[in-house]
């Protein structure tokens, strides 16, 4: 799952980026409002983490423009403004959640997972597809109740596919979900991970749609 983090403070931005990466997210980080808009236009993200007090363009302006364009990306505001009026304004401008600084990394991760869950139309914390169970919070995957050991990238890939069963993802889209900026992506990486996942989970879970990409079917 790929996130865009917009935070002007270097220390906070760096820490959040590292923390979220440890939790299995691909994180792109920009430090001002204009750069955020540029990143949103050129990449597709699963969630936007937005500070409000930004240089060049305020977080609220970025958010308002985003919603005007009809972009439904889940937005979590991260800010030091804790007044009720500020929260109301943030949520009413189109944010899905509001987290006041200082915040806890684990809570941030949990809220991001909740947003992703809602976006995928699920209420329960666990993704269940046939005999396959995926827990995004603990990164545990089990098949018929038996735990399966996956690497972080393998987990990210199956999580991205299983979060929206029935949707076909292109190879480029999957690469985006696996890697933030600054990572060299080898040409056949996605195939390599798909191959090892099929080996561990069985061939039926990841279907190849020839010439288009991969998907996890809704029913198995």
């Amino acid at each position: 799952m790929r996130l865009l983090l917009v935070e002007d403070d270097t220390m906070i931005g760096e820490s959040v980026r590292i923390g979220l990466q440890q939790d299995g997210f691909a994180v792109d980080w920009v430090q001002d409002g204009r750069a955020a808009e540029l990143a949103l236009e050129t990449n597709s993200y699963d969630t936007l983490l937005l500070d409000l007090g930004l240089p060049r363009k305020s977080g609220l302006d970025v958010l308002a423009a985003l919603r005007r364009r009809g972009d439904a990306i889940p937005v979590l505001i991260l800010t030091a403004r804790d007044a009720v009026a500020d929260r109301v304004q943030g949520l009413d401008t189109g944010a899905d959640d509001y987290l006041v600084k200082p915040f806890d990394l684990d809570e941030l991760s949990a809220r991001v997972r909740a947003l992703l869950r809602r976006k995928a139309g699920r209420a329960g914390p666990v993704i269940q597809i046939g005999a396959l169970t995926i827990n995004p919070a603990t990164h545990e995957v089990s098949l018929d109740g038996k735990p399966i050991a996956l690497s972080a990238r393998e987990f990210a890939l199956i999580h991205a596919l299983a979060a929206r069963p029935g949707v076909v993802f292109s190879r480029a889209q999957l690469e985006e979900k696996l890697y933030g900026w600054g990572h060299e992506v080898e040409s056949n990486t996605v195939e390599v991970y798909v191959h090892s996942l099929r080996r561990k989970l069985g061939a039926g879970f990841i279907r190849n749609v020839r010439g288009v990409g991969y998907m996890v079917p809704k029913r198995i």
């Binding site: 220390m11 030091a80 684990d106």
Partner: protein, 437 residues
């Protein structure tokens, strides 16, 4: 006795009582004078109206022919001094040779005597002066009694009027009493007597100043709390990363980050404290004679290691002797902040020059750098608390120049930001007024 009411009452009533007494005295003397004229006339008439032929020796008891008023004494002698008539033998008056009016002192008090020569007899009519004095005193008293009775009534009226006049003060005191510490809006001026209005006006001015000071304090605390949140958030996140670290390298990196976050928070707190100490309204340190060249030398040498780290050529380019009256430690903080800023914003390999000049008896400290400078439109705002120019990637608290401004204000110094010539770069000039002789 500090009650206006009682003091006014005392003085007004004393004054009135004095006036009443004076009026009584005046009335007494006037009435006495009038009574004198009247009775003198009466005496003369009396003497003239005595029966002409009746002057045979008469027994006093059969004097019914003579209608003699109370207190009047009539004595008649013949030309040879033979007593012909005494109206009151018991109070015999000496025979007066002198004709006309005279006043005679006797053991029974003083008498007014009129003597006249009627045919061959000397007629003397006399009256005790006490009659006249009693009359005058009676008149005066009759006039005074109502006035004296009026005094307590006046006293009550004065008491009530003053009470009413002072009511606005009481209302004001009650209104002030009921207030909470943060309700500092002005007191109403309507219906106030002119005498109290200046006081209320002055109180209102003070309340206004207090409200502004309180407002700025509140804003400062709010700003400070808000600004502290950022470094504290960073520290919290860094702690969590350190806790999560699985390998020694990760842990080491996390702790290095944490250390930087902690020192940033500590720096902000330090700057906040410095600023709070230099805020207007805080008891200032006493000013003493300060050798500015000493301060400049000290600040430049303190910052030499930082400059060397960044490969910046920091030095004192010009120096004159200048003394001002000021707070040495505060001035050192101010110059330190300016030099620190210059070093932070100047790219490696640049130059920071500090100069101390005398211009028209004003001491001027100039700090010029070869950094990017500050655009004209931002120059006024950079002194605001927590204002940080956009797109600046140099870390800072946003308080340095606010501190500089406060300290400069306390020394009545002016700060000028301008382009360094030749550019690029910034030149900050701090101009101190000459020390008062």
């Amino acid at each position: 006795m500090s009650s206006i009411r009682r003091r006014l009452l005392l003085w007004l009533l004393s004054g009135l009582a004095l006036a009443v007494v004076a009026a009584g005295a005046r009335m007494y003397t006037q009435t006495l004078a009038e009574a004198n004229d009247l009775f003198d006339y009466h005496l003369r008439q009396m003497a003239a109206s005595l029966p002409n032929d009746a002057f045979g020796p008469l027994p006093p008891s059969s004097s019914n022919a003579l209608k003699i008023e109370d207190g009047l004494v009539v004595q008649i002698w013949d030309r040879n001094g033979l007593e012909l008539y005494f109206s009151r033998p018991a109070s015999k008056l000496p025979q007066r040779a002198e004709l006309g009016f005279s006043t005679v002192d006797t053991p029974h008090g003083s008498w007014r005597v009129f003597s006249a020569l009627e045919r061959n007899n000397v007629v003397q009519v006399a009256q005790p002066m006490s009659v006249r004095r009693d009359l005058a005193a009676g008149m005066a008293l009759r006039a005074l009694v109502p006035l004296l009775l009026l005094l307590p009534v006046l006293g009550i009226l004065i008491w009530l009027t003053i009470g009413r006049g002072l009511q606005p003060l009481e209302r004001m005191a009650e209104a002030l009493d009921r207030r909470t510490p943060d309700s500092l809006d002005a007191l109403p001026l309507d219906g106030l007597p002119n005498e109290i209005r200046p006081l209320v006006q002055a109180v209102n001015d003070l309340l206004g100043r207090l409200a502004r000071a309180l407002e700025s304090q509140k804003a400062f605390v709010a700003d400070a709390a808000h600004e502290l949140r950022t470094p504290l958030t960073a520290v919290q996140l860094q702690i969590q990363l350190a806790q999560r670290a699985k390998t020694a390298e990760e842990r080491e990196a996390a702790f290095a980050q944490l250390k930087r976050g902690q020192s940033r928070a500590a720096h902000l707190v330090q700057q906040l404290l410095t600023l709070a100490r230099q805020e207007p309204g805080v008891a200032p340190q006493p000013h003493s004679a300060v050798d500015l060249s000493e301060a400049v030398r000290l600040v430049v040498s303190e910052h030499a290691p930082l400059a060397a780290d960044k490969e910046i050529n920091l030095g004192l380019s010009h120096e004159e002797q200048a003394r001002i009256s000021g707070d040495f430690d505060a001035l050192r903080v101010m110059l330190g902040n300016l030099v620190d800023n210059a070093i932070r914003y100047t790219p490696a390999g640049g130059t920071v020059d500090v100069a101390l000049r005398l211009r028209d008896r004003n001491a001027v400290i100039e700090i010029s750098d070869t950094g990017p400078g500050i655009p004209q439109e931002d120059r006024a705002r950079v002194f605001d608390r927590f204002y940080r120019r956009e797109a600046t990637h140099v870390p800072g608290s946003g308080l340095g120049l606010a501190i500089v401004k406060n300290i400069a204000d306390r020394h009545h110094a002016t700060i000028l930001l301008e382009h360094r010539t030749p550019g690029p770069g910034l030149r900050v000039s701090v101009t101190f007024p000459p020390a008062p002789a």
